[in-house]
Amino acid sequence: MSSATQLDLAELAKRIRKHCVRMTGTANASHVGGSLSAADLLAAVYGRALRYDPQNPQWPDRDRFIMSKGHACSALYAVLAESGYFPVERLETFYQNGSPLAGHVMHKNVPGVELSTGSLGHGLPVATGMAIAAKRDGRPSRVFCLISDGECDEGSVWEAALFAPHHRLDNLVVLVDYNKIQSLGAVKEVIDLDPLADKWRAFGWAVRELDGHDVRAVEQAVTQVPFETGRPSCIVAHTVKGKGVSYMENKLLWHYRAPMGDDMRKALEELDGQR
């Protein structure tokens, strides 16, 4: 067992990326690109911001993390293992027959997972429910929810986005992994989201826009929430799909393709070479 809170964030993010490559490559599973784009965000949230106890996953006053882009599950499973929720070796069972680690985030028999996701647009409404429950009960819990850019096409995201500021849920944080590529093409070409930060601002959120691979910037943001008392916080993180593996970066193909064989070797070598 390791502890994410004691690791250097760049080191934690690198470990997450290597796990993602090994898991998806070994299993021949999709979605490595969107897992790599989220790695630095997850590292900063689990490494510095989230208050949790892996020995007591149901601790009532814990902060919650909801991985709404459930297809990027390998990154979540990796950070949970690195945070001490379960042994890192269990990641080897990813996507295998009988494993609890499914190809989308599943809560059954995976300690640390708050919500099963996989259909987009579910995470933010549930996170909002958790946030308002904590407020009304006077508990200190905060709720962090990571969503994808393509997910912002879902109307339910904006239903929750309307609701949370109205109820002044400043214990709620949404992180948008804005990697600019969705399932069938570039976000700009499918359904353009720009200006995305302005949209959240217009809905009443306190917004910060940052480079989602600048771990210091992300660390600063996630440890400074709420950005404004009485408002939920939104972090629009500009990211790169496939970040960390040069041949994957900004390539739609790696939404689907798994890094097997030589691809895996090359990816791991490259990640090892990064600090």
Binding site: V126, I132, E159, A160
Partner: protein, 313 residues
């Protein structure tokens, strides 16, 4: 039923602050006392049923007993996948409440005809499906679903339905209430059509047919014991529901009968065809057009008995 529900819920919520009512911007005049007197236990999610359902799931996963409340198909079909994934898969302690089951809002048009909800909700894992037959059952059902730990669907009618149960009832989820004994046929009813089922039994009695009448307020889990007892002890079984014959009470009963050992009993579903009703009108008018009044049900039973007798000869 609506009044019985909200009154009972109000009383329960005053004693249990875990109870929180999340409405989809509906319930004018109905939820007002709750809203005003228990503001910490009330949320209006606005016209946003997906978020309403997700909110309730999130609150339930944080220790609340959360109810979603809207009318007709809005809290069920509109946000179905949120019910499935967020509520049912997580076994979240959410109670989905729909006012306006069947043709309650008949005059409002097909969008407001809730006639597939039982079928759809019955197919979801972990979900208990309850359709009380009158205000007395509605009150008891409200108590029961709140006491039950896990997801429930409560299908209600409107306000002001007559009380059918004239004496106190014993209400248990998954257990049919035997309202009348008879050796000839069994009539099984769910939801607000119960009064018509009683009328049908009265009419059948005049024709010399003695009816065992079951109020099957819980469609899932179904009281299979009561169905099988009816198959053994009476000569034919009929179901009555203000709902499509596909997937509702009739289907649930048929499933039990089809798979039971050594059971051979004439059976017919009385309900709606799988079609959008070409009519609009009051609930009574709609029932009349679709053969679901007491007279309509009795007529179908009589006609079926004649056909069944013909087949036996």
């Amino acid at each position: 039923m609506r009044t019985a529900f909200i009154k009972e819920l109000f009383e329960l919520a005053k004693q249990d602050e875990r109870i929180v009512l999340v409405v989809g911007d509906l319930g004018f005049g109905v939820v007002t006392p709750f809203m005003e007197q228990l503001p910490k236990q009330f949320i209006n999610a606005g016209v946003a049923e997906q978020n309403m359902t997700g909110l309730a799931a999130g609150m339930a996963l944080s220790g609340k007993i959360a109810l979603t409340y809207s009318i007709a198909n809005f809290p069920t079909l509109r946000c179905l996948e949120h019910v499935r994934n967020d509520v049912c898969y997580h076994n979240a302690n959410v109670k989905i409440v729909s006012v306006g089951g069947g043709f309650t809002y008949g005059a409002m048009g097909a969008t407001h005809h809730a006639v597939e909800d039982i079928a759809v909700m019955r197919s979801l894992p972990n979900l208990v499906v309850v359709a009380p037959g009158d205000p007395v059952e509605a009150r008891a059902a409200t108590r029961a679903v709140i006491a039950y730990q896990g997801p429930c669907y409560l299908r209600l009618g409107k306000a002001g339905e007559p009380v059918v149960h004239q004496s106190p009832i014993e209400f248990e989820l998954g257990k049919a209430i035997r309202m009348r004994e008879g050796k000839d046929v069994t009539l099984i009813s769910t939801g607000g059509i119960l009064l018509n089922a009683v009328r049908a039994a009265d009419l059948l009695a005049k024709e010399g047919i003695q009816t065992r009448l079951l109020s099957m307020h819980t469609v899932k889990p179904l009281d299979a014991e009561a169905v099988l007892a009816a198959a053994r002890e009476t000569e034919a079984i009929f179901t009555a529901e203000e709902h499509s014959v596909l997937g509702g009470l009739g289907s649930a009963v048929a499933e039990v009968l089809a798979e039971a050992d050594r059971v051979k009993v004439p059976f017919k579903r009385v309900g709606l065809p799988s079609a959008f009703s070409p009519h609009i009108g009051t609930q009574e008018y709609m029932q009349e057009r679709h053969g679901l009044t007491g007279e309509g049900i009795a007529k179908t039973v009589m006609a079926s008995l004649r056909t069944m007798a013909g087949k036996l000869n």
